[in-house]
């Protein structure tokens, strides 16, 4: 059903940076009205048809898709691809970020754009577009004296993962460049991409 994602691992070193005690109780739910349309499961690429409210989807992602959730506005992940030869399987990773009393999806994916192997990372907001636009996020990848930073606005999960990916609305790099960032003194052509970033509220 789903392409194997065994080759793509995530080694997390998450900075749990809380500047000040948050006054919002993270466990408080928003009142869900009947008028509010349920969201689709944001798990990337799958044929998962689960829908529900945010809390419901969070439990679903945790229990059924085994997605990790991290607290804090800042993050630092290392994406390791052990078998670059298996690139033809589109591989993807999803992590959840919990801050400001809200949740964000951090997607990382390897795919082909007209036969060129690429990697893309982007963020989606678990909520509606109106609230999504009140946030901004950055993603940064560096290595070997080079650094690339993307600053963007998280897309709402009302937009499917595929929509956001195909619009290239995120940090997008060619595999060639990703390997360059990964390069160390060993000669392995293994992807070891460190992506760090943060989320903040604009207004």
């Amino acid at each position: 059903m789903e392409p194997p994602i065994n080759d793509l691992q995530i080694e997390c070193q998450v900075n749990e940076l809380l500047d000040f005690p948050c006054s919002i109780d993270h466990h408080t739910r928003e009142v869900i009205t009947d008028k509010e349309k349920p969201y689709n499961c944001p798990y990337c690429g799958s044929k998962c048809t689960v829908t529900g409210d945010i809390q419901c989807l969070l439990e679903h992602l945790r229990n059924d898709h085994h997605v990790e959730m991290h607290d804090g506005r800042c993050f630092s992940h290392r994406y390791v691809h052990h078998n670059p030869k298996h690139y033809h399987h589109a591989t993807r990773m999803l992590t959840l970020l919990d801050c400001y009393g809200r949740q964000f999806c951090l997607h990382f994916e390897a795919f082909h754009l007209k036969k060129t192997p690429m990697y893309i990372a982007f963020m989606q907001f678990m909520g509606d577009e109106e609230e999504a636009t009140s946030f901004s996020y950055t993603l940064e990848v560096n290595g070997n004296g080079r650094k690339m930073t993307w600053q963007g606005v998280p897309r709402s999960i009302r937009d499917s993962h595929k929509t956001v990916r195909d619009s290239q609305d995120g940090l997008i790099i060619t595999r060639k460049l990703a390997l360059f960032f990964s390069a160390d003194n060993t000669n392995s052509k293994q992807l070891k991409l460190k992506i760090s970033g943060r989320v903040w509220r604009e207004h």
Binding site: T116, N144, K147, T149, L177, D184
Partner: protein, 322 residues
């Protein structure tokens, strides 16, 4: 030992293996040869007037290039390089006798003990090399002249940096800017015309140095892209003293690239193909352009600054051109 000098006129050839620049080659014994004691196989290195005649013997009578193994000869002993041997249809060009497959091993071995100065000695290179490693050194010699960094056409002009700056300004009509920050707007009315690579070059003068800012539209495997990158007019070692950043943005999004300028020793194409710069897909560039997104109006800002990279921090440069 008295020094001898050899003068010859300029001969240009395809391979540029021998290029007498109208200067003089001094085969002197100023370099102290310890090889007599150290190396058991080489009794003495060839220096002085003998070196000249041996060097002349190693010049192919047909193409006048330096000959490298395998060196051939005819039955009468006339020598020929392997490239020309293929072209002379089995006839010795010197005596018209039939050529065989005779190899002149003795000459090859004599060449081993020949030492010559780098051909860029008149540009400052002080080094002397054995015959067989001279060519390799010359392709990497720091004193060798630079090639014109103008992207696109293969401009064959060479020279030092000040010369090339004037050449870019006067012959290629490149814009010159003084200062280390920039704010350029690239406008293209019909962005669909990206088939032919189009490029723009601006030269920046700051920190007493010259930098080339390239902006280019071309087709990458993934479709039309725009790329911006900086090259340093000088050698790689000095280029590492500098850093630069480029930024594009619009509509709440921003893409920033920070890197080390590449030396103009690396060709424009090599840097471009290594993706070592700011790359934006056309769709994203049009998105940043705002408006109806049919016209490219990309604002690229950036700056150059001096930053000493330590030898350990991220200077592993794998071959990006593969």
């Amino acid at each position: 030992m008295e020094t001898d000098s050899m003068e010859s006129s300029t001969r240009s050839n395809q391979n540029d293996e021998i290029h007498h620049n109208g200067g003089t080659f001094h085969f002197s014994s100023t370099k102290s040869h310890s090889s007599a004691a150290a190396s058991p196989t080489v009794v003495t290195n060839i220096v002085g007037p003998t070196a000249t005649s041996v060097y002349e013997l190693l010049e192919c009578p047909v193409c006048t290039c330096s000959m490298y193994p395998p060196i051939h000869q005819c039955h009468n002993g006339h020598t020929l390089c392997s490239t020309c041997k293929v072209r002379v249809h089995n006839r010795c060009p010197t005596c018209r006798q039939e050529l065989g497959d005779i190899r002149c091993l003795a000459l090859e071995k004599v060449a081993e003990s020949l030492e010559l100065p780098c051909k860029f000695y008149n540009l400052g290179c002080p080094e002397i090399f054995p015959y067989y490693s001279k060519l390799k050194h010359e392709s990497l010699c720091n004193f060798r002249p630079y090639g014109c960094p103008y992207a696109g056409s293969e401009c064959g002009v060479v020279g030092d940096i000040p010369f090339l700056v004037s050449h870019l300004r006067d012959d290629h009509k490149v814009d010159m800017h003084a200062g280390s920050t920039f704010n350029h707007r690239y406008v293209k009315s019909n962005p669909r015309e990206v088939e032919n690579a189009t490029w723009m070059l601006t030269v920046f003068q700051c920190f007493g140095q010259y930098f080339c800012l390239h902006f280019e539209a071309f087709q990458l495997g993934m479709g039309p892209v725009y790329m911006a990158f900086l090259r340093f007019m000088g050698d790689e070692e000095e280029a590492r003293s500098y850093s630069y950043s480029l930024e594009v943005g619009g509509s709440g999004r921003k893409l920033t690239w920070e890197g080390t300028p590449r030396s103009i020793r690396d060709s424009h194409r090599k840097v471009r193909d290594s993706n070592d710069g700011l790359i934006i897909q056309r769709n994203m560039a049009l998105f940043f352009s705002g408006g109806d997104r049919k016209e490219l109006k990309l604002r690229v800002t950036g700056k150059i600054w001096k930053e000493q990279h330590s030898p350990d921090s991220g200077l592993f440069m794998p071959n990006l051109s593969s």
